[in-house]
Symmetry: C4
Subunit: 239 residues, 4 copies
């Protein structure tokens, strides 16, 4: 266990608070049961991440109980064991330098699509906005080691979607920071539910590819508030 | 950006508070996910409306963060960019002078009907009361410009229903004021869900047209509290 | 409008508080949307009832806003118009002297069964406990006048079930007091949902009639706390 | 009614508080309606258990209202009648010495599987983790006497799953302590829902038996926080 350099202290402190607080969003939007989902954030400029402790209930999370690990999942700082999904988070950060946040859930509608191994077809505008494509299915992989991380990276590399349905398992999402990854997880469950419901009473026409492109482009570039003096891009990314 | 006349100040101030507070109803009744729905109110006697800022979460909304725009969506007053659906709201106000409130959501059951492009048949009394007819489907239209607004107006003009299911997209509702439009959005999701569930186990007989007429007439004219001294029609309209 | 005798004052006061408070249970258990359900209580020993005001939201209900009417729905005391379902409540009290509470909702799963006009088959023990039989379907009836009340009474007279699914409309439940009627409404939605879900993946075997009888008898006579000194039967009936 | 030995007082006091508090988890995770589920804990080193009082609402539960009974369901201490399911809880403790907690619910998705008499197939990793197998179906049994307890014990003896779907009835779960049994009940409903949803749109491939074994072994032996100085195994068992 190596000590992180002192100049990273303020950022690590901030990320402990942010990652802790974001777990409440998983509860609020119905994405997790008991202790079943987790969030991490990369520490910018270091080979480190902040992640949920394993098996601790969401009510009991504190900034101090978040675990600081290296990108191979070895604890650098923390009294708790890190999430059992730490290996997968670390692999994603090692392979995808633009990713600053990772989320994993077993949210029910999205996991139902994952259990069938079926991508969610891009057929509503909210889905085109956020995902820009079908939400793809990744391989089945056992927990422990790099297999899940490899499956996430192989599926999402070069794909517009920040969400992947890992077969027989659940959802992984990525983002420029942890809040963007949480938003992707929340919207993934939302569209998984709407498409599930829609298909229960008949076929759902897909969106035309040019409409998907137009919606995705606009949403990524026009929606929300533009950064202004005193606001960082991170705090604006999905607001 | 033109300054609104001073005599409109109290009403604009009141509408900022009302529109802000009504967004909590979208959350409470499960109509929105993350930042996905928005409400606006016309400023009576002016070519102005008050609307949600784009991409700001419901927890962070304040009366001051609501945006005052003209009916072409140009900001008149406000530190935030207005909702990305502002064009559609403005078009509705320009085309439908009796409309004082507009709501847009992607509520899940109603959006499932919209994704199939299927109207919700009027087969339960709650639906006859509020909508007086099937809830109709409007055209697919891309965001930006007047296309969505035109589709909403073309579908709802001369129709009893204050709600339209925009194809592959979601719901727009109108009302004499913003609270009535919110009520229509809440009831639209309610009947969308009940009809979805009902049809999962067999056919659902439609209501006879004369029963729909009788229920609609009674609900619009008898239900609720009658205006009395000190109460405005607006505050009573859907109480 | 006649003044109720002074000796009824304490009981009317108590019932205003009880009926007001019980509406929060309709919200808590997801039985109502916007202002769509209502509860009443008979004033024992008088031709009077206490009922929800029409179209007032659940958040704004106060004991004082409850309306005291006679059993023909004429206001005896209250600043608000009584529920638009007052006629039906009053008819039930006139026709069924053992009934002390009535509840009406459009709870979604139960209303889905009502929309199809299909009774809920008694196939799980919770249903045998509370209802002792299939939950029956009553006739379609228009609001206003005695038609709904007549349909409720005709269906529930001599039936074990305290709940009826009024065709194309929703649920009415009865009880010895308002809390028992609320419990029946809550359990009706619960079993409507479980049976809806169960039947989505295959047939559900009915309970044998002798098992239904045994469960119903035990639940009505053994379950819960027995009345003791200082407790009234009403407060114990469904505890 | 015999008085428990004084040395058990602190543990009984602690269990009254724990069992009372755990009922809030049944409410939070949507497992219970009105008063329909119950939790008990064995008093270690005695032929005693602490269990919910019959028919008392979850809001009104206090540590003092929990009932202390022997393992034949006879009240040892308490002002209330114990849960009507006390016989079943006691039978499980008598027959399964390693069990320290029992939970019973009618949670909707799991009860839907029970109503059809259909085991939940082990096809998602969360299910392999917690249950290590299909969730099995137990026999139909009437309440009162030992029949339900016998069915629970016969089904779960030698089975990895801590949950059984009692036919036409609901769920019983067991655990080393009451918190583990509550977790099993929560996860049972979660996987019952996900598998219900998944199967609505097509077949769901089962997990390979060797994958189920690997996941179950890892979860039972690696997941969560390891006991450390000042932590008891019980408080850690499912954290």
């Amino acid at each position: 266990m190596t000590v992180p350099p002192p100049e990273l202290r303020p950022e690590i402190h901030r990320l402990r608070r942010e990652v802790c607080a974001l777990h409440a969003e998983l509860v609020r939007w119905g994405l997790v049961t008991w202790t079943s989902g987790n969030i991490s954030a990369r520490v910018p400029g270091a080979e480190l991440m902040v992640i949920k402790p394993s098996g601790v209930s969401y009510d009991e999370l504190t900034p101090e109980s978040m675990v600081l690990t290296d990108l191979h999942g070895r604890t650098v700082e923390g009294d708790h064991a890190p999430s059992s999904d730490t290996d997968a988070h670390g692999y994603v950060y090692r392979a995808m330098p633009h990713v600053g946040g990772v989320v994993h859930t077993h949210s029910p509608y999205a996991t139902a699509w994952a259990a069938r191994g079926e991508p969610i077809p891009c057929a509503i505008t909210a889905m085109a906005d956020e995902f820009g494509a079908d939400i793809p299915v990744g391989p089945f992989a056992l927990i422990g080691g790099d297999d899940i991380g490899k499956g996430v990276v192989a599926t999402l590399s070069g794909h517009r979607s920040p969400a992947v349905l890992m077969r027989s398992h659940g959802v992984f999402t990525i983002g420029a920071g942890p809040k963007a990854a949480v938003k992707a997880a929340v919207m993934c469950e939302d569209v998984a539910r709407t498409m599930h419901l829609a298909l229960q009473h008949g076929p759902v026409p897909a969106l035309a590819p040019e409409h998907v492109d137009a919606l995705y482009d606009r949403y990524q570039n026009v929606y929300g508030q533009r950064p202004a003096a005193g606001r960082t891009p991170e705090s604006e990314e999905d607001s």
